[in-house]
């Protein structure tokens, strides 16, 4: 086995656009679930709206790249309202069911032939990079060292993504240390009690759904920035990867989603390199290299179960929180 190549490929995931995109979405989910107790199982839908909002505004409407990002964010705000108005008055479980269905509806709308002219249906969208790349402040050429060597465009996507992530993390930190965050955490614990204290619970839940949804859309934008918008990406399993990341890092923390995304992608990158290599060198005698590459998804599922059972507060979560089992 070529360990050098395996480790180098693994290390490159540390600051890949995928890692940044997933971290942004997981941060949004932290606002939803970790702080607000909203069971959103439709993060893939928010991400799809961000990615398609960005690509369609550029390709169909000829908007500049930054306006495309704003359109993606606005689309997620509208989606949050559509989801929230009927369901946020109901119990948390209903939101879970509605969001998972709504995210699928969003994906199917983007995939259907009806809007082929705009969405290019199942083939997805590409070639919208011109504006974003023209705004690249880095001169042409290849920079970096070791596994982190990219051309100017590669660096521009990564640094722009990391910038968004820093702003988002800062916003979450500011919100959650404030009285607004206190109300939101109170709602997570018991919304009737918060209602009895004179807080408009519905408005707070709506605000949280929007804030988290916008972060999800930004994740979708960052995911779309370097390559293309592929509809088959925004399936339910994407939502569950985001959940794995959130629970791995710690749901009610600011840095948990970031750490979770890095760990998730580094492990995924490592396994996708090492498992086929093991299979081809005969260490996994009962499976082919293709089967070995798929094995990582099974391991991710297993990891999610183990986290939830043995460390439900995540890596960065407060240990004390574990002491008290919620009723």
């Amino acid at each position: 086995m070529d360990w050098e190549a395996i480790l180098s490929n693994t290390a490159s995931w540390l600051i890949s656009p995928e890692t940044i995109a997933y971290a942004l979405a997981a941060l949004g989910l932290a606002v939803h679930f970790g702080y607000g107790g909203l069971l959103n199982f439709g993060m893939a839908g928010f991400m799809a709206l961000g990615a398609y909002g960005y690509a369609i505004s550029i390709l169909t409407f000829g908007l500049p790249w930054w306006a495309g990002i704003i359109v993606g964010m606005l689309a997620s705000v509208v989606f949050a309202f559509i989801l929230g108005i009927p369901t946020l008055r109901l119990r948390a479980d209903y939101l879970a069911i509605v969001t998972i269905a709504a995210a699928e509806i969003v994906r199917l709308l983007f995939t259907t032939q009806v809007f082929d002219e705009v969405t290019n249906s199942a083939d997805g969208l590409g070639n919208y990079h011109e504006g974003f790349r023209a705004a690249n402040p880095f001169p042409e050429g290849t920079y970096g060292f070791g596994p982190w060597e990219y051309n100017a465009n590669g660096w521009w996507v990564r640094i722009f993504g990391i910038g968004l992530l820093i702003v988002a993390a800062l916003l979450v930190w500011l919100l959650m240390r404030s009285p607004w965050g206190r109300v939101l955490k109170g709602i997570r614990e018991d919304e009737d009690a918060v209602r009895a204290l004179g807080k408009n619970v519905f408005a707070y839940k709506m605000q949280a759904l929007i804030v988290g949804g916008v972060f999800g859309a930004l994740g979708g934008v960052v995911f779309a920035l370097p390559s293309a918008v592929v509809p088959s990406v925004y399936v339910t399993s994407l939502t569950f990867f985001i959940w794995t990341i959130l629970l791995l890092g710690g749901a009610a923390t600011v840095f948990g989603p970031l750490l979770g995304a890095v760990i998730f992608w580094v492990i995924m990158g490592f396994l996708s390199n090492v498992l086929p290599a093991m299979a081809s060198s005969g260490l996994l005698p009962f499976m082919s290299t293709t089967q070995a590459a798929t094995l990582r998804f099974i391991l991710v599922g297993l990891a999610l179960m183990l986290i939830v059972i043995f460390r439900p507060q995540g890596i960065l979560g407060n240990k004390k929180e574990l002491t008290f089992v919620k009723q």
């Binding site: 916003l171 500011l174 919100l175 240390r177 404030s178 009285p179 607004w180 965050g181 206190r182 109300v183 955490k185 109170g186 997570r188 614990e189 018991d190 009737d192 009690a193 918060v194 209602r195 009895a196 204290l197 004179g198 807080k199 408009n200 619970v201 605000q207 804030v211 009610a252 004390k320 929180e321 002491t323 008290f324 919620k326």
Partner: protein, 332 residues
């Protein structure tokens, strides 16, 4: 809050009503006036109140057997549930269709039968949540700390003051989930006070509280009155009702069956019948045949009653139920 205050009888507020103390009697200065409030669950009429007034500046107890509709009435008055019919006002403002959070903002706060301490918030955070009109609770203002730092400091000061009164100040940084059941009751009451309410509604404040803490809770409730607040509470503990209530409203099967000051209400035949049980002098064990005892006339009566109601299992269970209650009363 001296420890000996329990030894003396608290000062009762009298002269609350106008005319004879009958169900629905008018009050001199009512804070809540409700008319024709009904609520049905399926075929069951849980609340059917023609007219009731809650006096201001006094402690009013709402008593009645399980299923009498006390908590439902509570939920209706606080906006947590919507009635089928009826109108009611709080402090002169009509409350029909007003959502619960707005009712709370008007100064009518409640606690819950099953305590709702916010477990994974600290005690101090729980308290701060109770304060009203916080600038920092606006999403955009919350991002800029200078806008709410000063107010936050004032709220914290006030929270610590109230916590000290409730002897919870040393626990301010603990998760509310780590408190004992009784301490959570105290915290819930303290939190309600953060909003400087006009009317405090307590749903079974004594349920699950040990006797040592009961006295302290009683003192806190009496203090609310001293500070000019009105109190309405649901309670099963008759000693407590007798001890602190200025006015007692008795509900049974959704209706108000009696009203009056504690002493006279407890003599009322309707109350004894509905709540205390008509045969409270009879040992339950004798009735059920578990204990052999003298078959007094009372037992014969009761057995005859039960015979007569064979098939109506719930009503005989109800008799047994009220008897158990009075038994507990006796042993206390």
């Amino acid at each position: 809050m001296s420890s000996n205050s329990g030894a003396h009888s608290p000062v009762k507020t009298t002269g609350l009503h106008i005319g004879e103390a009958v169900p629905g009697v008018a009050k001199v200065d009512p804070i809540i006036i409700a008319d024709n409030v009904t609520r049905t669950f399926g075929g069951l009429k849980a609340v059917d109140v023609e007219h009731v007034e809650i006096p201001r500046g006094a402690i009013t107890a709402l008593i009645g057997p399980n299923g009498a509709g006390k908590t439902t009435l509570f939920n209706l008055l606080t906006g947590f549930d919507k009635p089928d019919t009826g109108t009611w006002t709080f402090d002169g403002t009509r409350l029909n269709g007003v959502p619960a959070f707005k009712v709370a903002r008007m100064g009518q706060v409640r606690t819950f039968q099953l305590t709702k301490a916010l477990g994974l918030l600290t005690v101090l955070e729980n308290m701060k949540l109770g304060a009203q009109k916080q600038t920092g609770e606006n999403m955009f203002a919350s991002l800029i700390k200078p806008l709410w730092r000063k107010q936050e400091g004032e709220i914290e000061e006030r929270a610590m003051e109230i916590l000290a009164r409730f002897k919870l100040d040393t626990k301010k940084d603990d998760f509310a989930a780590s408190l004992s059941g009784g301490q959570r009751k105290l915290l819930e009451m303290a939190r309600a006070l953060m909003s400087s309410p006009k009317l405090v509604m307590l749903d079974e404040p004594m349920a699950g509280v040990n006797p040592a803490l009961t006295q302290s809770l009683l003192d806190h409730i009496l203090n609310l009155k001293k500070e000019g607040m009105s109190v309405l509470f649901v309670e099963h503990d008759m000693h407590m009702v007798r001890h602190i209530a200025d006015w007692v409203i008795v509900m049974a099967e959704g209706r108000i069956v009696a009203e009056g000051d504690p002493e006279s209400v407890m003599q009322d035949a309707a109350v004894i019948d509905a709540y205390l049980g008509s045969h409270q002098d009879v040992d339950l064990g004798v009735v059920t045949g578990r204990v052999s005892g003298e078959n007094t006339a009372g037992v014969e009566d009761l057995l005859a009653d039960i015979e007569a109601e064979v098939g109506l299992t719930d009503s005989s269970a109800y008799i047994a139920d009220t008897n158990t209650d009075t038994q507990e009363e006796d042993t206390k």
